[in-house]
């Protein structure tokens, strides 16, 4: 018991240490706005050559929403998002147009007028948590690689990678369940599946607080699955560190069928459950990076360093 507690105190990263040591030191407050605003994030990522979902249109002013009906004809499938939304509110996935109105992913019809007022609401800041006037962006729909999509119960599965000073430390595949209603967030009921950094194979999975072997809805085995194009995914994630100068960063990315690795979102305060999904505490990894990292290390070597550390530290 005492030995176990001592082990936890040595190896596991807690909120106090994450906030007080890593975020306070490596994540300056003024950089948060880049990751909290989707358009700014995208601009920063494109600048260093990280692929992101294609932006079809951006609406900044109320009068522009009138253009929407005309614009949308060219798109087919698309997603409408508030630029500063949180918790997935205000996100609308449209799968097609049937002559009367748009079809949403829930299979509901939606007249053009209603979609316009949705846009207008986004611009007014109804969905943005800081209550400022917001911008609405329309993105092309992403489709996950069939192997990943098959693991998830609806929704878009994504991969969360934790980077420390530009070195990848840990990765976790996040899957939606029936309970999470298409969202891959862990506290909404999604699954977290730990991924070995070197091989790209899944090593452990959690649902809430339980460790599991199979997806509760599809009953497919979750362990020992090799994630396709793993090194491309990891390299893309590592490259994100060049876009924003955040030392402690969470990258959410997915594997699109057509375009390959594609970054969805950056997170300046990534959660700590990834340690459970990987059956591994973060602290030895963080210490190893501090010891071994030479400043100005190029991209590939940073990724290599992350994989080496993972191999060395994980028994």
């Amino acid at each position: 018991m005492i030995r176990n507690l001592g082990f936890l105190a040595r190896e596991v990263l807690g909120i106090n240490r994450r906030n007080g040591e890593f975020m306070a030191r490596h994540n300056p407050r003024h950089l948060f706005q880049t990751v909290d605003h989707k358009l700014k994030t995208k601009a920063a990522l494109l600048a260093v050559g990280v692929p992101v979902a294609e932006t079809l249109a951006v609406y900044r002013f109320q009068y522009e929403t009138r253009r929407f009906a005309q614009d949308s004809r060219a798109w087919g499938e698309f997603v409408v998002k508030p630029a500063q939304g949180a918790g997935g509110e205000g996100v609308l996935v449209v799968t097609g147009y049937d002559g009367n109105g748009f079809l949403t992913v829930q299979g509901r019809g939606m007249p053009v007028r209603q979609l316009e007022s949705h846009l207008s609401d986004i611009l007014g800041g109804v969905f943005s948590l800081n209550q400022r006037y917001d911008e609405a962006l329309v993105e092309r729909c992403l489709h996950a690689h069939p192997l990943l999509a098959g693991l998830s119960f609806r929704g878009l599965p994504d991969i969360r990678v934790i980077l420390y000073r530009g070195v990848p430390l840990m990765a976790m595949l996040r899957l939606a369940t029936q309970q999470s209603k298409g969202r891959a967030n862990l506290h909404a009921g999604g699954l977290g599946v730990g991924v070995d950094l070197t091989t790209g194979e899944t090593v452990a999975a959690i649902a809430g607080k339980r460790w599991i072997h199979h997806h509760p809805d599809t009953d497919l085995p979750l362990l020992g699955v090799g994630i396709p194009q793993w090194s491309e995914l990891l390299l893309t994630a590592t490259r994100c560190a060049d876009a924003v100068a955040l030392g402690y960063l969470g990258v959410d990315l997915t594997l699109d069928v057509e375009r390959g690795a594609c970054v969805l979102e950056l997170n300046a305060r990534p959660g700590l459950a990834i340690q459970l999904a990987n059956r591994q505490g973060l602290r030895p990894l963080l210490t190893a990076v501090d010891q071994k990292l030479v400043p100005g290390l190029p991209l590939h070597e940073r990724m290599q360093l992350g994989q080496d550390i993972a191999r060395l530290v994980v028994p």
């Binding site: 176990n4 507690l5 082990f7 936890l8 105190a9 190896e11 596991v12 807690g14 909120i15 106090n16 240490r17 007080g20 040591e21 109320q62 949180a86 918790g87 997935g88 509110e89 007022s117 207008s120 609401d121 611009l123 007014g124 800041g125 109804v126 209550q131 506290h187 909404a188 009921g189 607080k209 460790w211 700590l272 340690q275 459970l276 059956r279 591994q280 505490g281 028994p315």
Partner: protein, 800 residues
Amino acid sequence: MTNEVVAQRILRFYPLSSRVSRLAFCLALFLHPSDFPLRITSITMARFMFRIVLGLLLWVVLSATSAQSTPEEEPVFSAEDALSLPTVPPPAESPTHPATAYWKIAVHMTIATPVAGNHVQMLLPLSDGRQSVLSRRASVEGVTYREESDGLNLWGHWLVNTGTNNTPSLLVYEYTVQIADARSELPQLPLPAQSLPEQARYLQPSTAIQSNTLAIRNLSTRLHKGETKLPRVVRALYDHVAALPAAPHSEDGNDALAVLTAGQGGRAGKTRALVALLRTSGIPARVVGGIRLGDSAKKRTTISWVEALLGESWVPMDPAGGYFAWLPNTYLALYRNDLPLLVHTRQVPVEYSFTIRQVTRSEALVAGQPITPESHARRSGVRQGNERMYTIATYVEHPVANVVLVNDNVIPPVAAERILAEARDRQINVALLSADFESSSYREQYLPSLLSDNLTLLREADLLVVNARGTAGLYALLKQGELGIPMTNLRVTVAGTFPQTVGEVLGSVIIRLLKPQELVLLRHEGDLMPLWERARAQGRANIAVVENAQQQETPVIVMTEATAVQLPWWRRQVVALWTVAVQSQISLPALNFILVLPLIAFFLVIIRNVIGLETFGTFSPMLLSLAFLTTGLGWGLTVFAVIVGLGTGLRFMLQGLRLHLVSRVAILIAVVAVSMVGMTVLGAVLGVGALSHAGIFPMVIMANTIENFTNTQMERGTGEALRLTRNTLLVATCSYVGIEETGLKPLVLAFPEVLLGVIAIELWLGRWRGLRLLEYVRFYRLAQDRERVAIEERRKVSAG
């Protein structure tokens, strides 16, 4: 054309003095012509409304400022010529040493032709700071008699049981009173006077007191002469009314407006005029009815005077008699407010008269020994604020001691009877004062008034015993210090559940303020009986409390002025500081409340950063626990549940409308406000003090909690939202228990340096990076897993 140009044009053609043009100008400044073909989206609508509000705000500001500079065109009360301001006769000087007089009064009422069911009710005197009713007795032959209090006044009801074949029926009510002609202190408060919501009715106009008319308002503004200090304003108003020439009684010209307009009036008229002027100035005031004693042995007319609420005490003044802030001991108050003295069944003539006789002290006390054993004690219940207070007393002919016992629980009748019986046996005068309180903060608030309402009793007492939970007893005495009442001849015993060190510090403050002969602090909980036994022994055998207590092995601190000096240097500074604070009318309980907030924040740091419970924000749990400290835990949780429940229900209904956060929160605040008002009224009706103080709950925090709850519910699910609510309440409850039950609250008052220690710990905790307790639980399986793997590997190695 921009809106500024429009505004300038309006300004050119119409002067700003006209109300309409002012409104047009203000709106034109903010409204843009392009707003008018309104596209009805929520955004433009909100912007439009915002501009209108801006315009209205500017209008209000402009109106207010121009009202000060330019006179209104409405009729002005015909000023100096109609109401000449003559020189004021100096009011009678109050005596420097209050003199006490004892009176025996009998009221005889005759019902000429009594029939069963006939009914008479009469207002009866109550004890207050000036007067004490020592005994009362009602004739009960052939009638059913009961007494009933309406919260302010005491009514006696007589109901004739049997028709007594046309012989007139005589009802007699006798009482003995003790009246002191003490002077009221006028607190140097600024105007406008602050008043509690329960005093709002003393500001309302009525048919005879037309405090809302412009004429009276203008007159009072003129009489203020720009004074800002409350006593001076009151004095100016009093001087004006007192200087009005007396006029013969006339039935129709007796209201405030008529008297002030005519510039003359009778006694009742002058009283109403002064009340109206005070109320117009925002000072709670009321009419007091009573009789004047001493000038004739038989009379049947009542007189009226005025009481104004200055600070926390009702200050008497009689403009017709020329008394300001004091009344001679010949004034007996019978009732408050404009009421008829007598109410009886219609068409049954009732004759009544007062027979008045001044008596000596010993006579008065003998008179306090009525005939029937049941009426040995007088028991009268009066509601003060939301609390019910009782006084019971017994008086003997040659007392060896005068004891006042104050208890924070209603004393059970059996115990009260026993105490009174024992007191009579041992020739001790005893007065028992008791009241029920719903939470510790009410106890601290109202226990002091239980003492200050019975000052005449305290003046004569040799020994005062205060038994109250927590530090309420100490606070009650401190409050008397605030009122500047010395208790030089009194020995005081305070029993309560305060730490000894706290008692030493606060006790020293009491000694400095009240200078009692001796102050005994006892750590004692609950029952009054042991304290009474101690007091009895002391009164009887004159055993010092110390020795007596040592026999009973109770921890006791005895303090006199000498012991207060023995405190360490730093502690003496704290004592001096609080003494100054109390002398400057700062309430120590209120200060204590402020000092408690850092402690609550400290609990929050522990619970969030060390234990790891997530709550709704940082301020919600803190302010909630403050609210709990006021209302008590049970009612606090009830109020919280009701308001948050209602609000959340509404919030879900609003969800479909997709409103902006700001308007959504504004609507929630409206709902929270309405439910708070509802609960306040309900609490007042049901007599639940905690409920009627629902307003103590920080409204914004409640609205925020509702908002947080729904947001969490939508983002992270109902379970999570309920979990956070539970944690928030848990933190609030923990800090409530930690502060209320452990005596930490008085501790910060006595040892403010505790906060330095708290800050030190918080500095250390802020740099602490270890795992939170709940994180150990959350990640424990990681360690277990590691252990299992290690065991398996060892097994493999040994097998291999």
